[in-house]
Each structure stands twice: as structure tokens, then as C-alpha cells.
Amino acid sequence: MRPSSLRSGFPVVLLAATLLLFCAAPMLKAQGEVIWSGLVYATNSPAPQPPPAQLARCAAQLTRVFGYNQFELINEQQRHMEDRKERWLLPGKEFSLRVSGEREEGSEYLFRLELYRKDRLLVRTKARLGAESPIAFRGPLYDRGQLIIVLLVK
């Protein structure tokens, strides 16, 4: 190829790179989104321990809604989100959560969630989540308190 041909083709290549970058930016960002889930043991204690860091932002909300003042994180898991790809979260003998997400406008996701206890489907729900805007599932009574499953996009 002659140098002049290279020069004449350069603007086209640059334009293609521009379009590619513009289109790829949301995908790159989307791959950076993380969905976090935690299995929380909620109790009432006369001397409550501070909540774990992962729940620091929503502990007060959980207290007001569920009425418990202490939250322990029993299990947690986080995954990078990809459009329309199913993920299993909270692997355990008792509880598992199947999540498939679809990115919508901005940093919002439309999730399809299925909460299982062993092989039994407990609940199926569709929810729209934004960053740091959690969903909590009121789980069964456990020991001297209650289990809560928390899901949020980081």
C-alpha cells in the first residue's frame, strides 16, 4: 500500500474508532457494575453491635422497616453484571437467589429475581434498581431473629 493511500484512509479509521469508542463506553461501564447480595441475620440486642460496612448505608432503613437493631452478615456475594445473563447469588444449602439483569436508562437495572429455599421457589419478582437503592426480602424466622436477604447495585 502506498503512503498516500494510508494517509487518505486514516480519517476513516479515526472516525470508525470514534464511533466504536462512543458505543463501547456504556458497555464498559456496564461491565463495571456490581450486584451485591447479602444474607443478613437480624436480631434485637440490648447492646447492638454496629452493622457491617456493607450494610452501613441501609441499616437504619432495615431497622425502621423490620424492627431489629442488630444485623450480622452471614453470607455475601457479588457479581459483575452483564445484560440478560443469569447469575446465581448466595450459594448455600438453604437459600439461593437467581438474578438476571437488563440495563436500562442511566445506571438503572431491571431485574428478574427468584428466591429459592433449597429447591423450592419461594418468590419471583421483577424490580427496577438504581445504584445504592436496595431491595430486601423478608426471610424466615431464624434462631432468635429473622433472616433478611438484601440486594443492591454497587
Partner: protein, 173 residues
Amino acid sequence: MKSLEERYNAWIDGELPEAEAARLEAELGGDPAALRAERQSIRHLGGLLREHLEAPALANAGFFNHQLMQRIAAQTPAPAPARPFWQRVGWRLALSTALGGAVAALALVALTRETTLPDTQPYQAHLMETEPGEPGISAVAIQAGDEKLAVVWIDGLDYVPADPKALTTGKHR
């Protein structure tokens, strides 16, 4: 003291005194008769040049000069007009620069559009559909008032005895 060239020219023209002429001929060396023949030949050539090669006088020198300058001007290429910057650097470079700027601007727009939302966005999780998975279980979606918290309130679940290991171990389904 005159140089050899000056004395030689004076000797050719016959203007050198006899004593100096004799000294110069001795310096030049060779046959004196041959030297005098050479001097005579040079004088003859000078005479011919003065006689026959005199420049003809111009009848109208001013008109001749005017014509000459016009012909020189007609044959001299006109200087190229000054071109603008983008023509001088070449359209490819100008286009590449513009596209490079576009790349940077679009990348900035795309990245900032995707990275400036999270913490300041007053968005609340919203439950759209909720249904229980089996009879005997109820599931209700609750939007927790002013809280940025959506709750799926499940009732009818069996009590779970304390067994942390059962909650933390296992495999993906």
C-alpha cells in the same frame, strides 16, 4: 613598487622606460625576439578590438529598456498567493486534527454520562411484579415510604433452626 602585472601591462602598451623594460624582459626570460613578437601580437589584437567591436549606439535607449523590462516581467512567474493555514498544512492533517478532537469530546461525553449518576440520584428501588412460588406462601411488595428501600415481604416460611453452616456452604444451583 609596481607589481609584475602592472609593469607587464605598461610594457605591452610601450609606456615602460627602456631600462625597466629591459629588466622586465630579463625577468620574463626566454627569447627576447619572441617576447617582442608576443607584445606586438597583443597590441595588434587590442587595436582590432578597439576598431571593430565598439558597441552600437542605441537610437532610443529609454524605449529599449522599457521593452526589455516588459519582456522580463512577462516571463517571470507570478508569486503564489498566500494560502490559509489549513491549506498549507494539508487537508488531511486538518481533518485528522478535527476528528481527534471529536474522539476526545465524544469519549468525554460518553464516560461522564455513565459515571455521574449514582449517589446523587434520588432513585428508589421499585418492585413491579411479585408473586409467591408455591401455595401457602404469600409475597407482598412494599415500598418503604420515604426510605430508599423496596421490600418483598414473604410470609408462610418455615422456621429455620440455627445452623450457620447450612447458610454459608453449598454450591451454585
